[in-house]
């Protein structure tokens, strides 16, 4: 007999958003995850942010799984995360890691929180009596908290803890706690866990101006705050009140607000020769929000060095911030802030646009503080016994941002890679989950095998009878205050209630069996369970019900104590109980009229289709193929490799795309799971997740074939843009960066005797006409070429005319290197573009120098243009074949620019690489891994269970007006021309109910939320006053 395979287990260290995302993606495939965090709770930095660009809203919940929503508790992510396969362990630190790949033993120090969340009744009476007040670090000291406190105000469960540094051990809290949840003697505990793989998602330490030498020049007043503290000033759970931003020093409204960029970053003197990547967008968002939320008269000014709007949609957001919201941008590195006697903050700056010095006063100064990564990286390197690279960072494999070099089964994601925005945190989290999944597949670890509980059938013709089961919650004394006998008697008065059962405890092991015993005796066919924190236990409770013979769709759970306590101050036991009885009536009626839901499993075709044979496509294909997924790789040209793999020999960071492409091609062709289709395009597609049928057309022969597949990854890439500006194409001396790169590599362009080389950045980019976006890689290309020229001819003078140098993150070091090498960077603005004319056969470039404020003329021996990256035109065809969106620039439009960067609204469709937006090679490979993982989550199984609560069509009532099709935000509804009917993709449907609102005739209805149920709920609620009257 074969040995039972172990269940794959992964430790994710760090429960910020990238760690959470990695955990969710692994859990969805079916692996067990231990998610730890050093702080008392989960959520990381994002727990502090109420608003994220570009929507200026929260959206954390959008990282939750879209298919089979009911199997992974969908809940507000800022409050908490619940998943059967994820064990969350906050307040735990990794002390040591032993063992090797596939067999790690991790020593965890679980810090004492002194309050047991499983016993806590959350009434917060302990907080009220605590005499100690200290600054609340969650709000960056803007507010105070007690020694016993809830670290994140919106957490559920509340997860109280005691800050022992502040606690005086007076014992007041212990006295008032009726549930015995507080233990002041609690000790830290050590625990050793065995895991197969580890994902590091700890993030990095952030720069704190007050801790460094900058403190004297900048941190001169409480009104100088960090950008993260400003987020708390914008939050109603922070210090935001009355529609105004309050100044910390005196609580007066802050009207004139300045942001100073690059605090602790881009500073070679301080040995921080890197950019923190996210601060520019962070500041822009805060500046816009301040204008919107700060009441009338708010002025937002950002002092910056380069406004690094390199990501998708970033430039557009910057343009809107300036043009629509009136945010002031001033290019100046401010050298300090001075506090005036009246508290005002003075900033002196030089404005290059007007060429003048200014002295201005501000109410509030926000410092855009970035990362200080070295400490965190060193700590991990020591713990894991791995090396650091020359920069002092954890060394990853050459083409990977995720895989730690020389340590199989160890991966990093999120801000450990350098500070990341939400989108990159998501991509990297998914990619890390993908790498871990590949690793687990490789060592033969298994997924969790679910206990199969057969689903009892529901007889809908039977008269509905509701059994109400109330959990007494045996060991939780918090349940005092409800008179169970009275509640039971009251509920039995309702016509639709068949019986009321009182269960000792649902959640404890023996309680579960007892509950099943009691409930199996029933004559009722519907079950309503009253328990605490139903969002945590819902799935468990449904399993109990199923064992007792209830169809799980006819089981509802409500929060017994929450319902009772609503709006009641100091109620008597009787009042409390009666209130509960009245509130529950609506739940009873909703269940009474609920139809049984039938969940059908979607069969999954295991084939994957990958469109595009560049790096993104090849990487996705290989990633899936080595896990045993059959892949069809479709490339429109005659060879694999894409633009980069066929044209670029070397990149600025020392990668060799052409050689790498050769290597990958070989692997692709050698892999028996991959079928390559060259000169081939997808013409049309029908179907949904798990069963697509695509028509492939071969360009040479004109032949067509049909391919059945379960998912698709679009990785169509891009190519260097074209321009007619600056005489490109009219002279051999004018060329693009791509042409120069090729010429330098092949030796066709000889620079040994060249004197002046002028490079112009952003040609046809970041402007209203042409490419509105930043192509992200051109600055690095220009620097790479410039350095190459300098290497060949140190006497050559290279001028780079730029608008903003986009060497974000650790690319900054190449910018420094270029300047050290004597390459001359000169800034120009869009309203004063460089001009060129040919004089005696040579290009002469004229432009305004902003430092000298003079017009400069340069005669160039070579004029090199950075013409940006264009998306493939074939995107149009692809987008219409798969009915996905394109953005205005021709790139594929992902489902959500922040939280779902790899997916489309329709499930089963994914994107990677430059098809999304221009990006460097390593990012392409990371996205490709992420896309492969998203697809693998479905392709690894034979079927997928969708949610039961999905929208349905009552065909007999449907008039085919298709208004529901137009209104569906998830593209889940479509009109089937052949069958003349509306069809719903149950995997895509998120049960938002827009269709049900739109349909005037109830032909569109969300199962489990029918009008009949809702009318009954409304009636029950309106009955309240009637039923309250007999209560005296």
């Amino acid at each position: 007999m074969a040995e039972k395979k172990p269940t794959g287990t992964v430790l994710v260290a760090g429960a910020g958003i990238s760690g959470i995302k990695a955990a969710i993606e692994l859990a969805e495939v079916g692996y067990k995850v231990l998610l730890t965090d050093a702080s008392t709770q989960i959520g990381g930095i994002l727990a502090k942010l109420d608003y994220q660009f570009p929507t200026d809203h929260c959206g954390m919940c959008r990282m939750l799984p879209m298919v089979g929503r009911e199997y992974s508790s969908q809940y507000c992510m800022r409050k908490s995360l619940f998943h059967e396969n994820i064990e969350i362990m906050p307040f735990a630190e990794i002390q040591a890691v032993h063992g090797d790949a596939g067999n790690y033993k991790v020593d965890l120090l679980k810090r004492a929180r002194y309050v047991d969340p499983s016993l806590c009744n959350e009434l917060e009476e302990c907080i009220a009596v605590c005499p100690v007040e200290v600054a609340d670090e969650f709000n960056h000291g803007l507010t105070k908290r007690r020694a016993i406190y809830q670290a994140i105000p919106h957490n559920t469960p509340k997860m109280l803890a005691i800050d022992m540094q502040a606690c005086t051990s007076c014992g007041e809290c212990v006295k008032v706690c009726t549930s015995g949840a507080i233990n002041l003697e609690a000790q830290d505990e050590m625990e050793t866990r065995e895991v197969h793989s580890i994902i590091l998602a700890s993030g990095v330490k952030l720069y704190n101006t007050r801790e460094f030498e900058d403190a004297k020049s900048y941190a001169v007043s409480p009104d100088v705050v960090s950008s993260l503290a400003f987020e708390r000033m914008m939050s109603s759970s922070g210090s935001y009140r009355d529609g105004e931003i309050k100044r910390p020093s005196d609580g007066k409204p802050a009207k004139n607000i300045a942001w100073i960029q690059c605090m602790g970053s881009r500073n070679r003197r301080q040995k921080r020769d890197y950019c923190s990547s996210i601060c520019c967008m962070f500041a822009l968002k805060e500046a816009v929000l301040a204008k919107e939320k700060g009441g009338p008269g708010v002025e937002s000014t950002i002092f910056y060095m380069d406004m690094r709007t390199f990501g998708k949609g970033f430039q557009q957001y910057r343009d809107d911030a300036v043009e629509k919201h009136g945010v002031n941008l001033i290019r100046c590195r401010v050298q300090g802030v001075m506090k005036k006697p009246d508290g005002a903050l003075e900033i002196r700056y030089f404005d290059p646009e007007t060429n003048e010095f200014f002295i201005k006063e501000y109410d509030l100064v926000v410092l855009s503080t970035g990362q200080i990564p070295y400490e965190t990286h060193k700590k991990w390197a020591d713990l894991l016994n791995v090396g650091l690279d020359s920069r002092g960072l954890l060394a990853t494999e050459e083409y990977s941002k995720i895989r730690l070099a020389g340590k199989p089964g160890l991966f990093i994601c999120g801000s450990l890679m350098g500070l990341t925005d939400v989108s990159e945190a998501m991509s990297s989290g998914i990619a890390a989950a993908g790498e871990a999944t590949k690793f687990l597949c490789g060592i033969g670890a298994d997924t969790v095998k679910e206990e199969e509980i057969p689903e009892p059938t529901a007889n809908e013709r039977e008269l509905s009878q509701v059994s109400v089961a109330l959990c007494k919650c045996g060991e939780k004394p918090g349940a005092e205050g409800i008179d169970y006998a009275l509640l039971s008697a009251e509920l039995q008065k309702y016509h639709s209630v068949g019986e009321v059962q009182i269960v000792e405890s649902f959640c404890k092991d023996n309680g579960e069996t007892a509950a099943v015993d009691i409930l199996s005796q029933t004559k009722c066919n519907r079950l309503l369970i009253g328990a605490c924190q139903p969002f945590m236990y819902r799935q468990n409770l449904k399993n109990v019900a199923r064992k007792a013979g209830f169809n799980s769709s006819l089981v509802e759970v409500f929060d017994l104590f929450g319902i009772a306590r609503q709006g009641m101050t100091q109620p008597s036991i009787k009042e409390w109980t009666m209130r509960a009885a009245h509130e529950v009536r609506a739940d009873i009626e909703k269940l009474n009229f609920k139809p049984a839901l039938h969940v059908s499993a979607l069969p999954i075709n295991q084939n994957a289709l990958v469109v595009g044979g560049g790096f993104g496509g090849m990487q996705s294909a290989l990633s899936l193929a080595i896990r045993g997924v059959p892949v069809h790789l479709v490339e429109k040209d005659g060879q694999l490799g894409g633009y980069l793999g066929n044209n670029v020999e070397a990149t600025v960071d020392g990668l060799a795309p052409m050689a790498k492409a050769q290597d990958m091609q070989l692997k692709v062709y050698q892999n028996k799971n991959i079928t390559v289709h060259l000169n081939c395009e997808v013409e049309s597609t029908v179907g949904t997740l798990g069963s697509f049928e695509s028509k492939l057309v071969y360009k040479d022969s004109g032949e067509t074939s049909y391919l059945h597949h379960g998912a698709v990854i679009m990785a169509t890439g891009g190519h260097e843009g074209a321009t007619t500006e600056y005489g490109l194409g009219t002279s051999d001396l004018v060329m693009t960066q791509g042409q120069l790169k090729k010429g330098l590599a092949s030796g066709d362009i000889d620079v040994s005797g060249t004197e002046n080389i002028v490079m112009i950045q952003c040609v046809g980019s970041r402007q209203k006409e042409g490419r509105r976006y930043c192509s992200r890689i051109c600055c690095m290309w220009a620097i790479a070429n410039a350095l190459k020229i300098k290497e060949k001819n140190p006497d050559a003078r290279v001028f780079i005319l730029y608008r903003d140098v986009m060497t974000y993150g650790f690319y900054e070091q190449y910018y420094s290197k270029a300047r050290t090498a004597g390459i001359i960077f000169m800034n120009y603005s869009l309203d004063n573009k460089p001009q060129m004319e040919m004089v005696e056969g040579k290009p002469v470039v004229k432009f305004m120098d902003t430092v000298l404020n003079e017009e400069i003329e340069l005669t160039a021996d070579l004029l090199v243009l950075s013409t940006g990256v264009d998306p493939e035109e074939s995107n149009n065809k692809l987008a219409s074949a798969f009915k996905v969106g394109l953005n205005d620039d021709g790139f594929l439009a992902e489902a959500d620019s922040k939280w779902r960067p790899i997916e489309f609204q329709q499930v089963g469709l994914y994107l990677a690489g430059t098809a999304h937006s221009p990006m460097p090679l390593k990012s392409v490979i990371m996205q490709a891994e992420a896309a492969a993982q998203k697809a693998y989550a479905y392709l690894s199984g034979r079927e997928v269970h969708t949610a039961g609560v999905v929208s349905k069509v009552k065909d007999a009532h449907c008039i085919r007006c298709q208004r529901c099709v137009n209104i569906c935000p998830y593209g889940a509804r479509s009109y089937d021309d052949m069958e003349n009917c509306i069809s719903v993709d149950p995997a895509a449907c998120q049960a938002c109910g827009m269709c049900a609102v739109e349909c005037q005739n109830n032909a569109a209805e969300v199962a489990g939320w029918t009008d009949k149920q809702l009318f009954a709920v409304i009636d029950a609620k309106l009955m309240d006053d009637l039923l309250l009257s007999p209560v005296e």
Partner: protein, 376 residues
């Protein structure tokens, strides 16, 4: 420049002249069928579908009656298209309802030659019978109505027509003009190229525009608009509280005739006849408990309010709801006053244009970005 044909007729020969035109467009292949009001023997005029030129003799487009809304017929004929070209002769209110149904994908105008007639009002069905019995004809009606005399004996044109500010049709290919054409003549105006081609094919003589038409239409619209505003003010005053509204509707017996007659109430089967409203005895008892008593049949007010929420954005004010009520509830002002406000909220006018998107019919990503995460 619009093209006109003048049809002069001798007394009692208006319909004979008009039938010549319809015969012409059928014979010369401009269309394969004509849907037009036609006399049914001696009594009654109903929309009829004619496919042979020989059967066009009974056309009577100007007869002041509209037994059912032609928009519903247009839907029957074209929702699942026949592929044959059909000319439809409809009143302005019917055309405006048709425009709404196009947007709801219940009418397909691809093969339709739309002919709109000037409308001076219609009598209720029973009144039209009396009108015919008293010897009234379309010719006499046109003459009298243009002189402002629509009332005959104890009846007058429908309330909806008296306050209708759309006597002339739009969104059409051809227009049958009576207003301002002078006694003894009507005009046919080609509005679109398609209309012009059909007019030329019909064989009628192309001539001049009716001289006084624009002025006459303007005057009529002004009179009706004033009447409308007066009616609105009156009705709003009469129904300014829930109880007053309840009294207006108290005669309702849930027969749902108003919904059947409404041209824009386009559902196949109304939600009010589905399971959703099949209540249990327990529920009736509960409501009786709650309110002290429960009027039966119940849900009458709920039904009318639901229809207002569903239809007021599309309401064209044709008044068929009032005409259909067996208990003489005047529903038209209820719908028109609410439509007046709801349509204004969206700067929308039901029936104005096929291109104008119906309010709240499409998903706006930037309107609901907290749901989608997509910002424009």
């Amino acid at each position: 420049m619009a093209t006109f044909a003048k049809l002069s007729f001798n007394k009692d020969e208006l319909n004979k002249e008009l039938s010549g035109f319809f015969k012409g467009i059928l014979e010369n292949g401009a269309v394969d069928a004509v849907l037009a009001p036609m006399a049914q023997g001696k009594k009654g005029v109903r929309l009829s579908l004619v496919t042979s030129a020989a059967n066009t003799g009974a056309v009577d487009p100007f007869a002041p009656v509209a037994a059912v809304s032609g928009a519903k017929i247009a839907s029957s004929l074209t929702a699942r298209p026949s592929g044959r070209k059909v000319a439809m002769v409809l009143r302005p209110c019917e055309i405006r309802a048709t425009v709404e149904l196009v947007k709801l994908k219940q009418v397909n105008l691809d093969d339709v030659l739309m002919i709109g007639m000037d409308c001076l009002g219609r009598y209720e069905n029973t009144d039209f019978t009396k009108f015919q019995e008293q010897g009234g004809t379309s010719e006499s009606f046109l003459d009298n109505a243009q002189a402002g005399k629509t009332a005959t004996g104890d009846f007058d044109v429908a309330g909806a027509c008296k306050i209708c500010e759309f006597p002339a049709a739009d969104n059409i290919d051809l227009r049958l003009c009576a207003i301002g054409s002078g006694s003894g003549a009507v005009h046919i105006e080609a509005v679109t190229e398609k209309g012009k081609a059909a007019l030329e094919k019909s064989g009628v003589k192309i001539g001049d525009a009716p001289a006084g038409r624009d002025e006459a239409v303007k005057k009529l619209v002004a009179v009706r608009t004033e009447a409308r505003d007066k009616k609105f003010a009156e009705f709003r005053a009469e129904t300014d509280n829930f109880q007053a509204l309840g009294e207006k509707l108290s005669a309702c017996i849930n027969c749902y005739n108003c919904r059947v007659a409404c041209p824009v109430c386009y559902c196949k089967e109304c939600v009010f006849v589905t399971d959703t409203f099949r209540h249990t005895g327990d529920q009736f008892m509960m409501w009786a408990d709650k309110g002290g008593l429960l009027k039966m049949p119940n849900d009458t007010m709920f039904y009318h309010l639901t229809r207002i929420t569903h239809m007021s954005l599309f309401c064209v004010g044709c008044g068929q709801c009032t005409s259909a009520c067996p208990n003489d509830i005047d529903l038209m002002p209820l719908f028109r006053t609410s439509a007046d406000k709801t349509q204004a909220k969206f700067s929308y006018q039901a029936g104005r244009s096929v291109e104008e998107e119906q309010p709240m019919a499409g998903f706006e990503a930037d309107e609901l970005f907290e749901v989608t995460g997509q910002a424009k």
